[in-house]
């Protein structure tokens, strides 16, 4: 019986992480592919902003930021990244071409599911170890990514600390929500007709703000583009727009003209929440910045006070 138990434990350990030789560690990525690492990676390269930010946080905690030798070419752009000034010192900015990856001489490449498959294939043909992260559809996916990346780079302790900080902040935000009356209906728009529906980070963010996604009733997922008649029925109390898309007064003027949006409470009361794009699409613990901003604006009674002035 004891030996059976031992076999079972060994099998379980094999599933999580299989030592396939002396010091050889294997991991499974989002594609189900096996990545074998002989030692702790010293030259880590990431090709997505989410990967850049999570790795940067873990390695900063572990005080070994020098191991991050390459980040995505968007990482130093303020519009997309929360670590734009911090990664200026990172030697390589990788991106669309294979050459940028090769130049960085990585011993681990962290890519996203949206990176072009042929690029991933080309990199693998060069015998470079590639780990592809799964899609981020919820805050739970961010926590999973922190854990898997921390294990992958051999910094479980630092990863645990990053996760702990993140989760405790989320808990604090959740606790501070005042449960008075109906939650406000909040809508984030993509372009002029698109919305962020279920199974998006925005939808999950709202759970920590005291708001509820106005598009939930439609039962749609992702970023669907809605018709005018579906839009009119949403009637959100607050609208979330990226800071980069025109001034608030211009936006309000345009929304007040459109038949599908002019009757919305958010438009009538001028309740527009403007946040930087990077906060709206952050797939890392930096998502907290966006959550805080939305939460503050929902609670702010003076948000629409400039209406009509």
């Amino acid at each position: 019986m004891r030996s059976l138990y031992l076999v079972w434990v060994i099998c379980l350990c094999t599933f999580v992480s299989v030592p396939a030789g002396a010091g050889l560690q294997t991991y499974h990525d989002a594609r189900g592919k096996v990545i074998k690492l002989r030692q702790k990676p010293r030259r880590i390269v990431s090709a997505s902003v989410a990967g850049d930010e999570i790795l940067w946080l873990i390695l900063k905690k572990a005080e070994s930021l020098e191991r991050l030798v390459g980040v995505s070419y968007l990482a130093d752009q303020e519009k997309f990244s929360h670590i734009s000034s911090e990664v200026k010192a990172v030697p390589f900015k990788v991106g669309k071409s294979l050459e940028t990856f090769v130049k960085a001489q990585p011993d681990l490449l962290v890519l996203a599911s949206f990176n072009r498959p042929e690029l991933i294939q080309q990199i693998e043909q060069l015998s470079l170890p590639v780990f592809v992260m799964k899609d981020f559809k919820s805050i739970g996916d961010i926590i999973t990514a922190i854990r898997s990346l921390a294990t992958l780079i051999g910094e479980e302790k630092a990863g645990h600390l990053v996760e702990q900080d993140f989760v405790s902040e989320l808990n604090l935000l959740k606790k501070s929500i005042k449960g008075e009356g109906q939650p406000s209906k909040v809508l984030a728009m993509v372009g002029e007709q698109g919305v962020m529906a279920k199974e998006t980070l925005f939808d999950d963010m709202l759970g920590f703000t005291g708001g509820v996604n106005a598009s939930l009733g439609l039962g749609l997922t992702g970023w669907p583009r809605l018709g005018d008649e579906a839009l009119i029925s949403l009637n959100p109390d607050f609208l979330v727009f990226p800071e980069e898309g025109g001034s608030t007064s211009e936006l309000l003027a345009k929304l007040s003209r459109k038949a599908s949006t002019k009757s919305w409470n958010a438009v009538k009361k001028c309740q527009l929440i403007r946040i930087p794009s990077r906060n709206l699409i952050a797939a890392s613990p930096f998502i907290l910045e966006g959550i805080r901003k939305i939460k503050t604006d929902i609670a702010n009674k003076d948000l629409g006070s400039a209406c009509g002035k």
Binding site: Q193, L220, R257, S263
Partner: protein
């Protein structure tokens, strides 16, 4: 023959009426349950339904019908100009130029300034293209069809390349890319009475002007020499046709973006119904063009409601197979 024409055009008109009624009253995913024929009898409707009917569906129906009719009219003119039933208004590069300018507005993040800015930019781009084609298409003040066609194709490719450039540099910006892609695929969402007011007069006047050219186009279809011998000033006629096509396409693209195949498919289909005589062809093409875009718009709104698809997708889905059949038939005839 006249009776047959009246009967056929009446049938086309009836189809248009049926489609327009369906477009106005079609139930969309429980949101707008304006059931057929109940609405006029029950005026007690909620304010939201009133808004949907009067401010969303009605102007949208009129704009889609008007755009479809105008594009089909432009198609008739283009086919007469090039004396080729496979020609379409897009060969002159006008819609590509308009699309590029609209995409540029999205790229520069100016689209929020005013509802007027995108139609203005697209119209400006399309007009500039028409002027360039106008000058490139002539030689020693004599109008040359082959030069015009080549200039149109070259400009179309050039504007297409500029648009691709904008797309490639906007790939990471989800807001900009979303707006550009949907504009390129064409559609009538977000259009209201102000857009209709903007386009109805110029489109109406241009269509009337184009209709007045039909007798001369009949003569041109028999050959330039024959038309000239019957005192038709062929170069002048071609300039007039080119300007009419330019005006029509510029206005349509400024409102609805690209609506592929309407200008190609409808005149050809109408020719099968009423024959090549241009007056009849023009009238029936206007009716059928309106029907096609209203149908495409209805499908775009309802197929996966409440998600809205792009109208251009459906015009292309209906047009492309027809175009292939046409090509196959031509090959078989040869």
């Amino acid at each position: 023959m006249a009776n047959s024409f009246s009967l056929r055009s009446l049938l086309c008109f009836l189809i248009l009426i049926v489609l327009a009624t369906a477009s106005l009253f079609w139930k969309v995913n429980g949101e707008a349950s304006l059931m057929p024929f109940k609405f006029p009898l029950h005026f007690k409707i909620s304010p939201i339904m009133e808004t949907i009917f009067y401010e969303i569906r009605l102007p949208r129906l009129l704009i889609s019908g008007l755009c479809g009719a105008s594009l089909a009219g432009a198609g008739v003119l283009s086919q007469a100009l090039f004396r080729n039933p496979l020609a379409s208004p897009s060969v002159l590069g006008i819609s590509s130029a308009g699309t590029f300018c609209a995409c540029l507005v999205f790229f520069l993040n100016w689209s929020w300034w005013s509802w007027f800015i995108i139609p203005s930019a697209a119209f400006a781009g399309a007009s500039i293209n028409t002027v360039i084609v106008f000058f490139l298409g002539r030689r020693s003040k004599i109008f040359q069809i082959d030069r015009l066609l080549l200039a149109g194709l070259a400009l179309s490719s050039m504007w297409g390349a500029f648009t691709s450039l904008l797309i490639s540099v906007s790939l990471e910006d989800y807001q900009t890319l979303n707006s550009i892609m949907h504009w390129m695929l064409g559609g009538f969402s977000g259009l209201g009475w102000e857009h209709l007011k903007l386009c109805v007069l110029p489109l109406g006047v241009t269509l009337l002007f184009a209709f007045s050219l039909c007798p001369e186009l009949n003569l041109l279809s028999l050959g330039s020499d024959y038309a000239t011998s019957l005192s038709v000033s062929v170069p002048k006629l071609r300039w007039k046709v080119l300007l009419s096509v330019g005006m029509l396409v510029a206005i349509i693209v400024s409102l609805a973006g690209m609506l592929p195949f309407v200008g190609l498919l409808v005149p050809h289909l109408s020719r099968l119904i009423v024959g090549p005589e241009h007056k009849r062809l023009f009238i029936v093409s206007l009716i059928n063009g309106a029907s096609l875009t209203i149908l495409a718009d209805l499908l775009a709104r309802t197929v996966v409601a409440p998600i809205e698809m792009d109208v251009g997708v459906f015009t292309a889905l209906m047009g492309a197979p027809f175009f292939l059949v046409m090509l196959w038939q031509r090959q078989a005839n040869q």
